[in-house]
């Protein structure tokens, strides 16, 4: 595995994503759902909303970094608020 040049932060990063995917897979099996239409006027399931959250979070982090808005961990707080909004309204 040394050729992959792992570091602890990136391992944690991928661990969290893997955990999220497993959690949502279990959720989808245990509690099947009907897609719903939110403010984007597209039908979304929980999985879609997770994807929108993760992709959006990546951009939020980049924008935060690009504008040097402050220490990077604070961007995660913005991401959390964004995630809550996505799961509530999208």
């Amino acid at each position: 595995m040394s050729w992959m040049a792992w570091t602890m932060p990136t391992a944690i990063f991928f661990g969290v994503i893997a955990l999220l995917l497993v959690t949502f897979t279990i959720l989808a099996i245990k509690f099947p759902e009907t897609p719903r239409t939110g403010i984007l006027r597209i039908e979304t399931t929980r999985g879609d909303r997770l994807f929108i959250t993760l992709l959006g979070s990546a951009f939020i982090n980049l924008i935060w970094l690009g504008f040097e808005a402050g220490p990077q961990p604070y961007a995660l707080l913005v991401c959390l608020a964004y995630a809550a909004a996505v799961f509530r309204w999208v």
């Binding site: 040049a5 990136t10 897979t25 099996i29 099947p32 009907t34 990546a58 951009f59």
Partner: protein, 290 residues
């Protein structure tokens, strides 16, 4: 739709997932690991944190390449999509000539990228190329190795030559699926040619056109081989698109960290745009009840 969605079928794609893991996911994870570290070779890495990402976000080089890339994709879409539709509308509907046209149209699609590049590189040369020589004899200054405009025109025309037939074939397939009854109804209503196009043909083609736009956008956004063979990214940096710049950085300069950060941002943009296109496409299908 009131039916609950059963997601268990996803387990059936597990073999593909394993395959993709080795061909895409694991390499991508390695790129993420590279992007937060610095290396001088010999597989020794030093922690760099988010430095490369901030460097790349501040670098004019990346933004310039992105700008050129967007202009290139925009220009070829603006030409290829209307031209493809126009060609499809004028193709014979059946008989020998329909098959003939279809075969003729698919020929450019069968030629490998680097061969297309080589063809156009020679075609445009002033000393031995038909195009370059003719233009030169007509008194038009044309030199794609020194003149930015000529280089851009060559790269754009080359892409249009290579890929318009894909759009045309897709649009043609969409047109063929329209039942005659629609045209008969339009005729009874004395609809004009434009009205037939606007209210029958275009809506019926919308699905395949979305696919055409998506395919052409993705392909042009990741274009590497053709401009690399023809102009090598020059003159200067005039036709250095994102992937050419990325390869220069990663392999030419061996700056693995910045290149990794660059490629991740590139990947995110592509992912976002693909998602938007995909969502629009799926929703178009749902609206049409397909």
């Amino acid at each position: 739709m009131n039916k609950t969605v059963n997601q268990k079928a996803w387990f059936l794609v597990l073999p593909v997932l394993i395959l993709v893991a080795f061909s895409a996911v694991i390499p991508l994870m390695t790129v993420v690991n590279y992007s937060v570290q610095d290396t001088f070779g010999r597989n020794e890495f030093f922690w760099a944190g988010l430095e490369w990402f901030s460097d790349m976000l501040d670098s004019d080089r990346m933004w310039d390449a992105l700008g050129r890339q967007l202009i290139f994709s925009g220009v070829i879409l603006a030409i290829e999509i209307p031209l493809g539709i126009f060609v499809a509308l004028n193709m014979p509907k059946n008989g020998f000539w329909a098959s003939f046209c279809l075969v003729l149209m698919s020929l450019p699609l069968l030629i490998p990228w680097n061969v297309v590049g080589t063809i156009w590189q020679i075609f445009g040369r002033v000393d031995i190329g038909l195009l370059g020589y003719t233009l030169d004899k007509l008194g038009i200054t044309y030199n794609y190795t020194q003149d930015i405009t000529a280089a851009w025109i060559t790269v754009v025309v080359m892409d249009v030559w290579h890929w318009t037939s894909l759009v045309a074939l897709l649009a043609y397939a969409g047109l063929q699926s329209i039942p005659d009854a629609y045209y008969q109804a339009a005729k009874i209503d004395q609809a004009s040619r434009w009205a037939v196009f606007r209210y029958i043909e275009l809506p019926k083609m919308a699905g395949v056109l979305m696919i055409a736009i998506l395919l052409r956008f993705m392909d042009s956004f990741m274009i590497y081989t053709e401009p690399f063979v023809v102009t090598g990214g020059g003159p200067g940096n005039a036709t250095t698109f994102l992937s050419i710049d990325l390869v220069k950085m990663a392999i030419g300069q061996f700056d693995l960290g910045p290149a990794a950060a660059f490629s991740l941002m590139y990947f995110l943009v592509i992912l976002l745009i693909s998602w938007v296109f995909y969502t629009v496409m799926v929703n178009l299908d749902k609206r049409d009840g397909v």
